[in-house]
């Protein structure tokens, strides 16, 4: 792993018709900036509660150039595409006990209107908002000590409708 200054990727040509042959290079593509396990490193670090800034420094040291926070964040947030499927996964092993609780966090939501930031860039107005994550934990009482977070729901408040969406999915 590291920074390759000059990397030549072979161009293939058909000997009969002299046309270019498209070859898939599994390890490196032309102009590829990040290595294949970069998303893995990002997810791994994020799971250990490392900040984007820390991850950025780690990547920058490896590729030998600065890496934007947004670049890393966008890569991690691509996991959003999996969420609908994850919430629909059936529970095959049913736990005897299910615990429910809510935990609060802060997010920003986009508002109407544009403003200029300190560096004169145009940005959407944002507003802080408290949201709650409703969590269900399954516990098995067969002596295995098994536990598993069955599902969760990000909601605006701990209201019946939000809990119902989660409970209906279980």
């Amino acid at each position: 792993m590291g920074h390759l200054d000059v990397l030549w990727v072979p161009m293939l040509e058909c000997q009969q018709c002299e046309h270019d042959v498209v070859a898939q290079f599994a390890i490196l593509e032309k102009y590829q900036r990040f290595w294949l396990d970069a998303p893995h490193r990002a997810i791994f670090g994020s799971g250990l509660a490392r900040s984007l800034r820390q991850l950025s420094q780690e990547w920058a040291a490896t590729v030998g150039a600065s890496v934007g926070l947004r670049t890393i964040n966008e890569r991690i947030n691509q996991l959003e595409a999996r969420l609908s499927q994850v919430h629909r996964e059936p529970i095959t092993d049913v736990p005897a006990v299910v615990q429910f609780d809510g935990i609060w966090l802060s997010t920003q939501t986009q508002q109407d209107g544009i403003h200029e930031d300190n560096r004169k860039r145009k940005r959407h107005r944002k507003r802080g908002k408290r949201m709650v994550v409703l969590v269900t934990l399954g516990l098995w009482t067969d002596g295995s000590g098994k536990r598993h977070i069955l599902d969760w729901e990000v909601a605006e408040k701990e209201e019946q409708a939000a809990w119902e969406r989660l409970v209906q999915r279980l």
Binding site: L36, D37, P39, H40, I43, F44, S46, G47, L48, A49, R50, S51, N73, R75, I76, N77, Q78, L79, E80, A81, R82, L83, V86, A96, V97, V98, Q99, F100, D101, G102, I103, L105, S106, T107, Q108, T109, Q110, K126, G128, M131, V133, V135, L137, L139, T141, R147, H148, I149, W152, V154, E158, E159, Q160, A161, A162, W163, E164, L166, V167, Q168
Partner: protein, 172 residues
């Protein structure tokens, strides 16, 4: 197992009806009782909460009811609000007596979930404020996957590798 949130109780009733045995968390109950104490110094409050905890050390539901009555008689003159909080929906906190064969520690409080939520909170604190609800949802997903892997005795390195492979499948 749940805390006293009304919306949750209504949702569970709506979806499962009476088929589900709901147990209120005794830890949340005792914390609410403690929060209603007034004009007590630390020593008196400690004594009161110790006596409140003794109620849940009963071996049967009628015994727990009797202990609550004794507790209420002693503390009602000076701590009416705390006693009223304790008595409010008290039966929901002792339903575990009707279940045999399941360890009481699992049934009486949501402490295991509270501990899991502490792990989620660690990530929330590091971020401070998520730039979007989408980011928050993904962060929760990653933390949930990590915790589930940890409980299944799988390394986070391995589990995160599978997530990354999923990413490649989504966006090759």
């Amino acid at each position: 197992m749940r805390d006293g949130t009304e919306g949750l109780e209504q949702a569970l009733d709506y979806v499962y009806g009476s088929a589900l045995l709901q147990q209120r968390c005794i830890f949340h109950k005792l914390r609410n009782v403690s929060g209603k104490c007034v004009s007590l110094d630390r020593k008196e409050k400690k004594l009161m909460m110790e006596q409140a905890a003794v109620v849940y050390q009963a071996t049967s539901a009628p015994e727990a009811q009797a202990r609550l009555a004794a507790f209420a008689e002693h503390w009602r003159p000076t701590q009416p609000q705390a006693v009223a909080t304790f008595e409010h929906e008290f039966e929901q906190t002792i339903r575990y007596f009707s279940l045999d064969g399941i360890a009481r520690e699992v049934l009486r409080s949501t402490s295991r979930l509270v501990r899991s939520n502490r792990e989620l909170r660690r990530k929330f604190r590091q971020v401070g404020c998520f730039s979007s609800p989408r980011g928050a949802e993904v962060a929760v997903y990653i933390q949930v996957t990590r915790l589930n892997a940890q409980w299944a005795r799988t390394s986070w390195w391995e589990a995160s590798h599978f997530l990354a492979l999923d990413l490649l499948n989504i966006n090759p």
